[in-house]
Symmetry: C2
């Protein structure tokens, strides 16, 4: 009997917010495996904000997600069939197979991982692209000195949580910004940030000011919009801003920066970056992050949607901040 591979493809490009109708679930029969190939049953697929940008047909750092093709994305899983000399049945792998239950590969871009000390799903979060993103922005752009204050937006998310914990390990004061009291409590109590401000409480500038009495030296930005405006107004001279994401404007409406003159008067550095363009740092970053996770010194939380059917709703929720920690879809 031919096995079926369920896949989500991009059916149409969003006008404004992404909606379930932009995606279509298709069933493709699995072809017989060719020599030199192997097949992976994906256990988890990753949902990340960058995917929203790929859904647009606009000039950006990456080619748009093609229509009618499987949605891009990171996956972890287990080799279930192999005609490849270096991948054996039972191997655990991290790959970019996208929003589907199975992936077939000749090995390019697929990495075997050890799931005995590190949970397999962590390779999509703290020990994967989001973790390395946080590591790069903190260490290569913000480069905090002991005693400095580092602010992180989307602090309970997969990237932000790593940034704050690494900032603390560097001797800095870590202040999070997150949506809601629950997330803020988690950021302080479980991730060990010094403070966290709830941007939904409606008093962002005053609340941020209260917990950054010495101003802000480093800012890891995932959000944009009001959160960026407010934090910019708290920046100290010679501050550094790692610009990683602007999820607030991913749905299309451009959000202006209200006071760009602050970049001059405070002599700030702003650096936009995409972690995939810095492959040189990945080995060092993954080694450090993997060690910390294995030793339970780096904490994270996951929002897990059950079953591939849930992927679009989970993704749309992620864009609205409904996730709590790394958003995954569990496939098996």
């Amino acid at each position: 009997m031919t096995q079926i591979n369920r896949q989500w493809v991009l059916a149409s490009r969003p006008e404004g917010a992404a909606s379930p109708s932009n995606f279509r679930l298709v069933e493709a029969p699995l072809e017989p495996l060719a020599d030199g190939h192997f097949r992976v049953r994906n256990h988890y697929m990753s949902l990340d904000p960058y995917m929203r940008g790929r859904m647009n047909d606009s000039k950006s750092y990456a080619a748009p997600q093609p229509l009618d093709q499987v949605m891009i994305g990171g996956t972890v899983g287990e080799v279930v069939e192999s005609k490849h000399p270096k991948f054996a049945v039972g191997d655990k792998v991290v790959a970019m197979f996208g929003w589907q239950e199975f992936g077939t590969s000749d090995g390019a871009g697929v990495r075997k991982v050890d799931a005995t000390h590190i949970p397999l799903s962590a390779y999509l979060g703290a020990v994967g692209m989001p973790g390395v993103t946080g590591w790069y922005g903190l260490n290569k752009i913000i480069a905090p000195r002991a005693g400095e204050t580092v602010v992180v937006s989307a602090a309970s998310g997969a990237v932000g949580g790593v940034v704050g914990q690494l900032a603390k390990r560097a001797g800095a004061r870590a202040v999070g910004i997150a949506g809601g009291a629950d997330k803020c409590r988690y950021v302080v109590e479980h991730l060990g940030f010094d403070a966290c401000v709830d941007y939904k409480a409606g008093n962002l500038y005053q609340d941020l000011k209260a917990v950054t009495p010495d101003g802000v030296d480093g800012y890891f930005e995932n959000v944009g919009g009001e959160v960026l405006d407010v934090t910019l107004a708290r920046m100290n001279a010679f501050g550094r801003i790692a610009l990683c994401g602007m999820i607030a404007s991913y749905d299309g409406q451009p959000l202006p920066l209200k006071h760009p003159a602050l970049l001059l008067t405070q002599r700030l550095l702003v650096q936009g970056f995409i972690v995939s363009e810095h492959p040189d740092v990945w080995p060092e970053a993954l080694t450090e992050l993997g060690t910390l996770v294995a030793q339970k010194q780096l904490h994270y939380r996951e929002s897990v949607a059950e079953g591939i059917e849930q992927a679009p709703q989970a993704f749309i929720g992620l864009l609205k901040g409904k996730n709590f920690g790394k958003q995954l879809v569990k496939l098996i």
Copy 2:
């Protein structure tokens, strides 16, 4: 007979645009010279956009200009009386004596200069603070590679002219933005830029696009507002922006940045800077700039107002772009 020193003091802080009523001309008698001091007759005083910022009483990188005190500013002149062992009558000096005819000093912050190969006034322009500002932003932030495109706003000004000429010497394509056909012609024909766009012509984006067919890799920003928005939209991936001035918003109205998400999608670097905070580069920069001016390989133009009475009007004109090249006031 006691000699009189005419001085401009700040009479009041501007609400919006600076006006003549913000300044007051006073006459102070020159006190007898103390031991260890010397007196300078200022030949030229410098007018620079940064002075507008100092007139506000707002948080910035420098203390505000105090009310009823002599306006801050660079000067060049000649020692006319000395009780200081290292400064003799006839020495030419560059100093920060401000908007006045005479300066008295113990030597702190005063530098003797050679006016035989370099015109004295150039020490307030291409071989002074404006020149080093251009040198720093171009070499330390933009760091153009041969074949790249560098855009410079306020290109006919004291800073912008240096930036474009140094960019050309580095093998880059230099494109200016200036106000009016005369300034644009000068930027191309006399300063040797590859092209110049007139922002007053009303078609800035299309005009800039036409002369930057390969996009923009480096941007030296003196202006802000629309000019910044438009140039940002032309930036290539990994572009560098040296943020030196935002003269468009100096009169108080904050000008937003319309599409900050471009900083992320193009992975741009933005660095605000103040050249006085980088004293380590001054000797190298001044040596290079002085050599180029003496060899007539670095060109510049001056707008000279005659007589100290003209200083406020000349300064207000500078803020409106009425100057053409480095704005000076000739005092003798």
